[in-house]
Amino acid sequence: MERDSSKSDENEKEEEFSDISLRPLDLSDVDDFMVWATDDRVSRFCRWNTYTSKEDAVNYIKNTVIPHPWFKAICIKNRPIGAISVIPNSGEDSCRGEIGYLVASKYWGQGIATKAVKMVASTIFSEWPNLERLEALVDVENPGSQRVLEKAGFQKEGVLRKYCIQKGSTRDMVVLSLLSTDPKL
């Protein structure tokens, strides 16, 4: 899930939903989860393939979400409309964590992903004192997601050519990072 797929357009209505909250996602959220998990427009830039069965969704929540080191549902009035997560590393790589997020397509264009990323950026470095670098890999063909991160203060470091395979082809990925010492926007 650690591939940024939120897409927002130039005409973001910033404050329409000013109150988003982050909380753990659990099995009782499976129907809300299915709303984005079954949407090709969301899965397009994610690692996973569009879900076709509720059973697969239940397994994913049980096996990946619940034991995940840091996974939250992005909620409006406590209803999940997206998800955001951070994957830590160990040993010599423990200074780095990778952020990934998605928002149900119905809620695109409202600055929700940007808010969620800013919320994570403002707490993750205290929650994980060893973390110094929050990084994100975004498909070169997903400029909306790149903008989300730039608006949250991430710096674009470069394009990593043929970095990973997604949906059967090798992709170029933009790498962006936010350091614990960077100013938060």
Partner: protein, 185 residues
């Protein structure tokens, strides 16, 4: 993770040893291996720590070198003077391999690492047909190693800030890549 450690004094164009060869490193090579493995000037930019004893070296050869997906001794007259390796990744990252190399300081400044990297870059894509990207991460404080890769046609993609930890410090690295479709200079 492979870290590039070759450092030369800039006088690389001397062709003192024009014939280098690559072959597997064996336990019987341990004393030659120690020449670079016990030297702080070499391990400084590598992910591994300096070997302080022959036992450490034997352990490293047994546990890391022998099971390694692609590890070679760089030899002059069949005597190892350094090492070069490519680490592979599973799953969605199998299109990438990470290059690392190290040369005993006695042999610095003679273009040996350049020759070794050229040999590897021109054969690894046939050895591993699924490989599309050979990458190298070089400490920003190691310009000599950066020059080797640039001279050969690797592309500098950017600086990844606070990317990994070495001796309790977080290090910025320059990311380089060479694609199966790129031209070696």
């Amino acid at each position: 993770m492979e870290r590039n450690s070759f450092k030369s004094d800039g006088k690389e164009e001397k062709e003192g040893f024009s014939e280098i060869s690559l072959r597997p490193l064996h336990l019987s090579d341990v004393d030659d291996f120690m020449e670079w493995a016990k030297d702080d000037r070499v391990s400084r930019f590598c992910s591994w720590d300096t070997c302080t004893s022959r036992e450490d070296a034997v352990k490293y050869i047994k546990e890391t070198v022998i099971p390694h997906p692609w590890f070679r001794a760089i030899c002059i007259n069949n005597r190892p003077v350094g090492q070069i390796s490519v680490l592979s990744y599973p799953g969605e990252y199998r299109c990438r391999g990470e290059l690392g190399y190290a040369i005993a300081p006695k042999y610095w400044g003679q273009g040996i690492a350049t020759k070794a990297v050229k040999l590897v870059a021109s054969s690894i894509f046939s050895d591993w047909p699924h490989l599309e990207r050979l990458e190298a991460l070089v400490d920003v404080a190691n310009p000599a190693s950066q020059r080797i890769l640039e001279k050969l046609g690797f592309q500098k993609e950017g600086v990844l800030r606070k990317f990994y930890i070495k001796n309790e410090r977080t290090i910025d690295v320059v990311m380089y890549s060479f694609l199966s479709t790129d031209h070696m200079l």
